[in-house]
């Protein structure tokens, strides 16, 4: 096993990897931007290497700086987490060329699955069902209108280089094609530097169901069942479950087998996820995510498999050492993502400094969080701050447990999507299992009971009176502010050597 690995990421996922590494006796090296000097991952790793810069492009996306940090720290392998460089084949190649182990699939697998058009071709050839549509990008909206005739409306316009919901537009009729095409193309250029678009059928009431797969370097592969990810908005997931209420044993086995076939077709090694759209009893390949996913914990809770540990073992050349029949499936798990966004204003991003912070606890509640008091939430990084994960023997108990956990959570200073998740967990369609990927868009989140509003009104009034009382009792506000301003400047800066000269912290204990 590796003695030391570098984690090319930040936030909760960096922490997630640090935790498994520490449990395995592997040291972890964090990298951090100027913005993240006091972040949790910077503090909890064994070593922390500054990358400098505030923007992602100057830090977590800088291949040169990360490789330099790996070399300087003596790391033997690099774990990319998710996002940033996780699905960047160039980075994977450079890591291997630098003589380091890449904790991820071979660069060829990333390339094959990274291009949506190319991956569709490979999947069709391997006998994996794909959504009706074109495999070639269309030139302009006229061509798109023509092509749409053959596929049938509604049509989904998607970016060839896309992901994360960016550059996707749904078109109901030819009249809407021009505007949607232009918007999608513009978004694709800004987000990916590649404006190519392709078309496919938009499926009726689809569910998003994905299969977790795991391959070693010797050709052994298992799937770790499905995750239900239909509770999403603009293709950004909010709540995920394992297993899915829509999947029975027969379908589970079939989807698992197809997912393994998909992985084998691209020579996959390590942990990956094959995403499917499930509609009217049929499932279609959507894409394969060639990395660890945000929602991996629900699979871990139900199977008892530590996916990060398995990633490290496979990258170190170990065989899986177990077979499909050895993977347990016990109970039910739900995850809710805590994003800095405001559901009431249509999930607009929310920024601020986290002050009042209360995390849930109690039986079978797992909190994967990068949050801390005093943390600034800006727009430079992904708005996902934390994940609350629960386990229970069955779905009803898991729902009740998640509601309880979300009621305990408070993130002061920014708005989060937690109230939206609570609304979902109380929604009849969600509880009965009769829902699809449109459930979130169809809900209204500003609604509260009058009884609760009265309590909030009383609290706000007394809060105001207490504030007034305090300010009347205190010395003049200007002298107080001057004092606060001075005491806030607690960051000491020393004229340090060059950014990457030496590791700053070694052997630190979290």
């Amino acid at each position: 096993m590796f003695k030391r690995i570098l984690i090319a990421n930040r936030g909760e996922i960096a922490l997630r990897i640090i935790r498994s590494a520490r449990e395995m006796g592997t040291e972890s090296v964090a990298v951090f931007s100027d913005f993240d000097r006091n972040a949790l991952h910077t503090r909890m790793a064994n070593m922390a290497m500054p990358l400098g810069g505030k923007l992602p492009s100057e830090s977590y996306l800088s291949i040169d700086k990360i490789l330099e940090a790996a070399k300087a720290s003596g790391a033997e392998a690099i774990h990319p987490g998710y996002g940033f460089l996780a699905e960047n084949a160039e980075f994977a190649k450079r890591v291997v060329e630098a003589g380091l182990a890449w904790i991820g699939p071979p660069p060829e697998s990333i390339i094959a699955m990274g291009d949506k058009i190319e991956s569709r071709r490979i999947m069709s050839a391997a006998g994996v069902p794909v959504v009706p549509g074109l495999t070639d990008p269309v030139d302009d909206f006229d061509a798109a209108i023509q092509a749409a005739e053959g596929i049938g409306y509604p049509i989904a316009i998607k970016a060839s280089a896309g992901g994360g919901g960016k550059g996707i537009r749904i078109v109901e009729s030819p009249d809407d094609m021009e505007a949607a095409f232009r918007a999608a193309s513009g978004e694709a250029v800004t987000a990916f530097g590649d404006g190519r678009l392709y078309l496919e059928r938009y499926l009726d009431r689809p569910r998003h169901i994905e299969i977790q797969v795991l391959f070693d370097g010797e050709g052994n592969g298992v799937h770790l069942y499905e995750r239900e990810c239909s509770v999403q908005r603009r293709h950004q997931k909010l709540l995920e479950e394992c297993p899915s209420i829509a999947v029975d044993e027969e379908l589970r086995a079939k989807m698992g087998e197809v997912a393994l076939r998909a992985g084998r077709a691209v020579g996959y090694v390590g942990a990956g996820t094959v995403e499917f759209l499930f509609s009217n009893g049929e499932f279609f390949f959507l894409e394969m995510n060639t990395r660890l996913q945000v929602e991996h914990p629900v699979t871990e809770m139900v199977t008892g498999v530590d996916l990060v540990r398995e990633q490290l073992r496979v990258a170190a050349g170990e065989a899986l050492g177990y077979e499909q029949a050895d993977i347990p499936r016990n109970g039910w798990s739900i995850e809710v993502r805590i994003n800095a966004e405001d559901p009431v204003t249509g999930f607009l991003p929310s920024t601020g400094t986290i002050g009042n912070l209360r995390l849930p606890g109690g039986p079978w509640v797992r909190v994967d969080s990068g949050m801390f008091r005093g943390m600034e939430v800006g727009l430079n990084y992904d708005p996902m701050l934390a994940k609350i994960v629960v386990w229970a023997p069955d779905r009803n108990q898991a729902v009740a447990r998640m509601i309880r956990a979300l009621q305990e959570l408070h993130v002061g200073g920014v708005r989060t999507g937690a109230p939206a998740a609570l609304a979902v967990l109380n929604d009849e369609r969600f509880l009965s299992g009769d829902f699809d990927t449109s459930i979130l868009a169809s809900m209204d989140f500003g609604v509260t009971s009058e009884e609760e509003e009265r309590l909030a009104a009383v609290a706000a009034v007394i809060h105001r009176r207490q504030m007034a009382k305090r300010s009347a009792l205190s010395r003049s506000s200007s002298s107080r502010e001057g004092w606060l301003k001075r005491s806030r400047n607690t960051v000491a800066t020393y004229p340090a050597a060059t950014t990457l000269a030496a590791p700053t912290v070694e052997g630190g204990q979290a």
Binding site: E187, T351, N356, R358, I403, E408, H410, V458, A460, I462
Partner: protein, 171 residues
């Protein structure tokens, strides 16, 4: 003292009398028993109303604050009687209004020019934030009075984008 409190868009009235740290409170005309203990200086409060315990989190100032109870979120605007009287005059004067950016971003495309008439829900401009393009729409049928930003301009949260004026004659 009487307070007019808007919670998630709905109006409520709270009457508070205070004597030696004992609150006498009426909400929407009904008397309640309240105790209110601050847990820390960050906004956590132990509130008890008629024997029911509530873990409340509250952040904000005298007029606008955000309350969270049991995971649910309440946007609160409040004013006392004196403030209400002062604000009443301003309220009469509703017109097209000023459209402000709710988040930092970049103006990707301006879809209107000064003098244009826009319908309710008509697009004004495209604002990109968090790598997503968001269409900013007109809240009402109006005429564009001033465009405050240029294409390609970076804007901060709260910055004016477009000023609208009410149409003289409904079209």
């Amino acid at each position: 003292m009487k307070y007019f409190v808007k919670v998630n868009g709905r109006d409520h009235e709270v009457q508070v009398e205070e004597q030696a740290d004992q609150f006498s409170v009426e909400v929407d005309g009904a008397p309640i028993r309240v105790s209110y203990e601050e847990v820390d200086n960050l906004g956590q409060v132990a509130m008890n109303v008629d024997g029911m315990a509530h873990a409340v989190s509250i952040e904000g100032d005298a007029n606008i604050c955000h309350v969270v109870m049991a995971g649910f979120s309440f946007e609160v605007e409040l004013e006392d009687e004196r403030e209400r009287a002062a604000h009443a005059a301003e309220r009469e004067n509703v017109g097209g209004g000023v459209i402000k950016s709710v988040m930092p971003g970049v103006v990707i495309e301006l879809l209107v020019a000064e003098g244009d008439v826009v319908a309710e829900g008509g697009p004004l401009l495209i604002l990109e934030a968090m790598k997503m393009q968001n269409e900013i729409d007109s809240p009402s049928a109006s005429r564009v009075k001033t465009v405050h930003v240029a294409q390609g301009e970076a804007v901060s949260a709260g910055q004016k984008l477009v000023t609208l004026e009410a149409l003289e004659e409904p079209e």
